[in-house]
Amino acid sequence: MDLSFGSEYETFRTEVRDFITNNRENAPSSRSNPADAKQWQKTLIENGYTARTIPEAYGGFGAKPDIIRSRIIAEEFADSGIQGGMGGQGISMLVPTLLEVGSEAQKLEFVKPTIEGDMVWCQGYSEPGAGSDLASLRTNAVMDGDDWVINGQKIWTSTAHLADWIFCLVRTEPDAKKHHGISFLLFSMDTPGIEIRPLVDMTGVANFNEVFFTDVRVPAHQIVGNRGQGWQVANAILSHERDMLGNPDAALSRFNSLIDLMQKETIAGEKAINHPVFRDRLMQLQGRIMAMRFNDMRILSSRLNEGQDASLARMIVKLQGTELRHDLEGLAIDVLGELGLAYGDNDYTRNNGTWQSQYMYQLGLIIGGGTSQIQKNIISERGLEMPREPRPAQ
């Protein structure tokens, strides 16, 4: 066991810190204009603090993959409170996909503008009828001359209203088996026939959208991979998306806020932290968070050290992490008693009402990105090698 990253990496950490100190004033805030944000992104790419391993030919920094350096960068930017590299589904999901299976022309056309923030993407996967069973999607594309003509509907499309382009799964081979009839298309959100409707969720905010396609025409070459290979194209990064959910660092940060809250709030004149029942629940959560943080270290270690298997440790993160967060937010509400009800336009909300909104949002995450039930299927089938559900007799 060696939990340090070693002196070479500590030197790198110092470099990152120095960069942050020296460039702090250029970092955009939430109120900066887009141009400043893009300029900052370019600076980060030039210094290798984002798009780090993307080849220079496609606009990246071109470094060798190094998980520890990436982690140090993430840690230092998070600690400093200044903005790191841009996120979003284009950068986190489409770019890795294109780099893996895109054509040379697609890499040259799309990667650079995407990582530089000039091209914002949204994702068109889920449909109202295709959730857990994503491969049953029905939005279809039919070849007409040199164009695909798309009709159908997508849902859970976050940032659709801000996106320039969409990467989208559509059914192109209606006669093939369901997983083999799908293709992966890219097209502009300005294409005629696209309608976006905001999708308000239980938190009261439109965190997502529905997107409707009516005879949307897309040039034939805007396909990634071959016809009918869309499922395979999408799948590699789907599991990557799942890895992002249930992050224990975020839980730890919320836990610290909860301790602060319990030290401040009173229950009938007594500090909440002195309420033994709530304190016991708080400590239970701390134990769970610790377990998930160490589990996360093990996953990191397995990526650094050949021969360390942490596949089961990875598989359980989303299931455990989202339930943990939901419980954590729920404890805060219980601690607050009637005050826990305050929401929206109410002077008495605590932490801007995030205990309630996160209590609900985390329930959304328990459901989204593969429901807890799907996660348990995966754990039992892939992790424990238990048999799949038998196919029903017809």
């Binding site: 009261g204 009637e338 929401y343 309630q356 609900m360 559900e389 029903p392």
Partner: protein, 351 residues
């Protein structure tokens, strides 16, 4: 021995249910939640059914029924996520005002007067809030008082004395909560004129008991609705070429919800029956009823949302109105932890 609803009670249930089915659709609830409407039309309709008069004695202009009938109505209101001042104005206020302000009680019965409830600080005073009385004047602050549209407020001071104030005599500010089907407000008392209703904490406690039973009944109804919606959605929704209701995981989630909630129905009935007939059992039963149903309700709210998958998380099916209503009932007038502590105290098991 009959521990179930009588024919009369079933008739009451049917008539209220019919009204709510007709008049309190999800669309209607949405409008109130969006503040496009208030709850007055609904309350008017319920008044025509005699609901505000339900537990008020006949000689005071009421219908003269008891807590069981009140619980039946509360359950239905929860089932339909109905915006209304039922618990405050029709139930808690008449209990406390009976024999003290029978004129007002008669007006409540007639539907011409709404009385809100400001008990929160007498149950567990929040930081910087609290109400004190001196020479029939109230000072301080009460939070999450029920009903922004009330004409009067029945206010419990920190030491659980009951006062009545007119809405005009206080500064009243809306307090938005997660549950937009009910309204709560901040009441600011500044030497506000008030009428002493009772210095007997038993009067405060009786009104509180029945209020807690009503919140439990409301959660029972809301939880039942969420189970019904989940089961029905699961039967319709197909994934992997079969209704998700045929997956054992989904079936067991629904079974666990039903197994948890079904005994709550008996618990609400019993607590309401005890309220009217078994004074020595009332308070303990009430504490446990609200605490237990709040815990079951929390599980049902989460689980039924999960059965709905992503749809449960959206505003489209509106399931969240019930989710939040259950959350509201849990915290108001005593959280589960507080109620269990009180239950222990009532039995001499805690100081």
């Amino acid at each position: 021995m009959e521990f179930g609803l009588s024919q009369e009670q079933t008739l009451l249930q049917d008539s209220v249910n019919r009204f709510l089915n007709d008049q309190v659709s999800l669309d209607e609830v949405r409008k109130v939640a969006a503040a496009d409407k208030d709850d007055k039309a609904i309350w008017q309709g319920l008044t025509e059914l005699g609901i505000p008069a339900l537990i008020i004695p006949e000689d005071k202009g009421g219908v003269g029924l008891g807590a069981v009938e009140a619980a039946i109505v509360a359950e239905l209101l929860g089932y339909h996520a109905t915006p209304s001042p039922f618990i405050s104005s029709a139930i808690m206020a008449p209990v406390a005002l009976a024999g003290k302000r029978d004129d007002l009680v008669a007006n409540i019965a007639a539907g011409t007067c709404r009385v809100g409830i400001a008990f929160g600080e007498a149950i567990a005073a929040k930081d910087k809030a609290g109400v004190t009385a001196s020479n029939n004047k109230l000072s301080g602050l009460s939070l999450f008082a029920l009903d922004i549209d009330a004409d009067y407020y029945l206010v419990a001071t920190n030491d659980q004395q009951l006062y009545l104030v007119t809405a005009n005599a206080v500064k009243r500010n809306n307090m938005a909560t997660i549950d937009l089907t009910r309204t709560t407000c901040e009441l600011v008392f500044n030497e506000s004129e008030a009428e002493l209703i009772s210095t007997d904490t038993e009067d405060f406690n009786r009104a509180l008991d029945i209020g807690r039973i009503m919140l439990a009944a409301d959660t029972l109804g809301a939880g039942q609705n969420m189970i019904d919606q989940a089961v029905s959605y699961a039967k319709e929704r197909e994934q992997f070429d079969r209704p998700i209701a045929s997956f054992q995981a989904v079936k067991h989630m629904c079974a666990e919800m039903a197994a948890g909630l079904e005994p709550c129905r008996s618990m609400v009935w019993y607590a309401a029956h005890a309220y009217d007939n078994l004074p020595e059992e009332t308070r303990l039963t009430t504490c446990h009823t609200k605490a237990h149903i709040s815990e079951v309700g929390k599980f049902v709210a989460k689980t039924s949302t999960e059965v709905h998958g992503g749809m449960g998380f959206t505003d489209l099916v509106g399931l969240h109105y019930w989710f939040k209503r259950i959350g509201f009932n849990r915290q108001l007038l005593g959280s589960p932890e507080l109620l269990r502590q009180q239950a222990a105290q009532l039995q001499g098991l805690a100081a």
